[in-house]
Every structure is written in C-alpha cells, then in structure tokens.
Symmetry: C2
Subunit: 244 residues, 2 copies
C-alpha cells in the first residue's frame, strides 16, 4: 500500500492549545518531513472545522508547541452517501482512504446477505483504526471534512438513516438496466450510491432496493474490484453533479 | 496490496496446445483455487484474442494439459489513451492493474520535467514485471484485451503516436479552467487523457500541451493521488462516452 502524503495537518478541536507529543505522527511529519523550526508555518485544519495556518512556536524535549489561525470556514459536507457491502479489511482501508479523498458526505459499510459476516469483527473496526484511514484521505485531499462513517448496520437500518429526497442508485452488473452515466440525476441533488460488495446483492436485496426507490445501474461489462467500483461510481456521480 | 482475483485465465497464443507447467501460477489457480479435475472447464482467453472455455484434459506429474475453445471474438480496443507522468514504481503497478481493469486502449507512462528520472530505471520496467500487473487487471475485468503500454518516452514523442482526431484533455488542478465533466466530448470520439503525475506539469509542458490542442481541465479542489486521479478521470471519460 502506498502511503498517502500529508498535504494538510489535521487536529481534533480539543488538541488546539495543547502541546503535541514528539512521538505523534504529526509532530514527526512537521519536524522530519516539513523540517519546520520555531516560527515556521504549515497548512493545518481542525477535523470537520476550519482550515488555516499552524505555526510551530516552540520545540521541547518531549513535545512541540503550536498555534493555529483559522482562515477558511469548514466546507459543507459532500452531497453523496456511499453505501457499500462490508468488504474484507484491506479493501475497507483502501475505500476509507480513497473515498474520503475523492469526497463523500457519508460512508456506510453495511451487512449484506452474500457478504462475509466475519469482516464485521475485524480489529479495523473495534480498535478505531478505521478513522486513521479516513484521516489519511482527508490529509491527502487538503480538506478538514471527514465523511460520517458507519459500519456493521444492516442494509435496512442504513436506509432508515438516509436524507429525505436523496436520489437512490445501486450498482448491479447483473440486473442494472442502464449504465450509471444514463441514470436521471438532477443538478443539486443529494445522491445515495449503493455498491453490493465482493459478491453483489442477493435477489431479496435487489427486490428490497427496488421497493425502496433505488434504480439499478451498471458500470459496463467489465468485472471491477469493489474498491475500483466505488471510486469509479463516485467519480461519475461527482462529475454528473458538476463537482469534478 | 490486494491481490486481484482471476476471473478469466489468460494465455499467450503460443501457449495453446502446449502443456502448462504445474509451477505456473495459472496451473496453481486451476488446481488449488478452482479445484478443476480432468474434464472440467474454466473461463479462458487468449491475450488480445478470443475468449472462451478451457478444459483440463489431463493432470501429469509436472504439467497439466488443457484445450481451448474460442467462443467470442476479441473485443475492440477501448477508444481512450491515458498518458501519465512516470510515477514511482508502486504507483505504476496500481495504475497498470486498475487502468487495465477499468479499460483503456493505450497507457503511456511519459517522462515529464517535474518527474523523478530515476523511476524510469526501475526493474518494474526493465524486467518486464509491468506486464504482469496489466494481465492481473485484465484477468479481474474478464477481458482478453490489454492496453498498449509504453514507458519512458518524452511527452513530445508520446504525442506523435496519438491517433489522428483524438480529443485531447489534460488534467491540471492549477490552470484547468473547467471541471473535466464540462469539457466538450462528442459521442464516439477517441479521447486522449493526460495526467501530469505526482508533481504536475511544468509551465513549458502546459504551453506545449495547449499548442498541441489539449484542453486543460480540473477534477475539483481536492488534491488527489496520481492513481486516484487516473481512475477518476478515466471513469468520468468512460461514462461520458456511454461506456459505463
């Protein structure tokens, strides 16, 4: 796996005004990669908050001190919810990072009938490791905004949490009648994009998705990995909304 | 790195009618993953040739024998040339695999002014390892067709080889005037998509690209990794051509 570069150093709001331990990966980045000395500035932001400039104010034996100046208000969450069948942990790591970089407002890893139930008990989720990958994606993208991440819900429960009026699209290479590029997608819409995961949807899930207003669409004849399908579909939806 | 699954077992045309050594990764796949016995069939294809069914005819001490029945003629090459600034080898591996899966007719890794010249001397290129990653992408996609891959040419030389009449688009987050989704892209066009690589284009390269008829477009405000930019842009172009 390629390590994503840190273009923006992100802090929790509670970390402002506190010393940053030298062992912290962001302190290592400021000193070892950016080679910042006291008085030097760096691009910084507060997670889900403003973006601006950090200044290294002092470098001590155990920690560095820094200040933060907010220059830009937080950007609005992206108008896209991506739901994906819970994949194996390595695939989930890639999706967490790259979907955050590309831009989604919410990212729900849902349990599906054909998915492997063991994936839900990975330490990726129980240890909180998942958040590190989303953070890496935001640091790469130069944004403070993380998607709202949920995992382990059933498809049914995840649908209950969707915004009202969201345009509902589901990828299905077997029963999708039209390519994703040909679906109806009004400018300014909020879009929910559902991706079935490694083994796709069951017949019952297809019926359920249709009953819930989802249009089934495909990405062509090629068989894509789950992470490639997520990125391709998200890029296409973002382009169709005029976002890229 | 996640290993791509083999959905289609690909052979060189010269391998048909020959025994397949047991140590060959495809023999291991047929026996260990697909658990094929003599008389069993499997999805198979000839690289850049027909797709069809293979049959295991015998399993010997050192090799297996198989036959191949062509059922579908080769698909046409995809009408898209992707040119990307030569990246670090691990990024190139991901691009070789994922761009082949998603679908491009040609994939040119070109030397750029801001690129690291050392990347061209990687064993990825000199050992021929690069082809293995493209093959993995095709096996995943269930296609026999590989992109034509070139590497190490200058940007100028690579442009000389482009098909006449190709619509020329270059990603540029600094001087791209419109999002890629808003560029003019006639149905049925051949498209050349140029991606600058990790450090982007130099001022001279921008001038050269414009003089050569390229329209500079961006993918929005987010800073994407080279491989993410390649996949997102390729997906958007494929969707706009009605291919996905």
């Amino acid at each position: 796996m390629t390590v994503a570069p840190v273009n923006l150093v992100l802090f929790e709001i509670a970390e402002l005004g506190q010393p940053l331990a030298l062992a912290d990966r962001r302190a290592r980045h400021l000193l070892d990669v950016l080679r910042r000395a006291p008085g030097d500035t760096f691009d910084a932001g507060v997670i889900d908050g403003p973006r601006g400039k950090g200044t290294v104010t002092a470098i001590g034996a155990d920690a560095i001190a820094f200040s933060f100046e907010a220059l830009f208000p937080p950007v609005a969450p992206e108008p896209i919810t991506l739901m994906v069948g819970l994949p194996r942990p390595q695939t989930a790591r890639d999706i967490l990072r790259d979907v955050t970089t590309l831009g989604a407002g919410a990212l729900h890893f849902v349990r599906t009938e054909k998915g492997d139930a063991n994936y839900a008990s990975s330490s990726l989720w129980s240890s909180g490791e998942w958040r590190r990958h989303a953070l890496a994606g935001a640091e790469q993208a130069f944004t403070t905004r993380l998607p709202t991440v949920a995992h382990g819900q059933s498809l049914t429960a995840a649908l209950d949490a969707l915004p009202a009026g969201s345009v509902r699209l589901a990828l299905d290479n077997y029963e999708g009648a039209a390519p994703l590029s040909a679906t109806v997608l009004p400018q300014g819409a909020h879009v929910t994009l559902a991706v079935g995961g490694e083994r796709g949807w069951s017949a019952a899930e297809r019926d359920f998705l249709r009953a819930q207003g989802f249009v089934l669409a495909h990405l062509g004849a090629r068989v894509l990995r789950t992470e490639t399908a997520c990125l391709a579909a998200l890029a296409i939806v973002r382009a169709r909304l005029g976002l890229m």
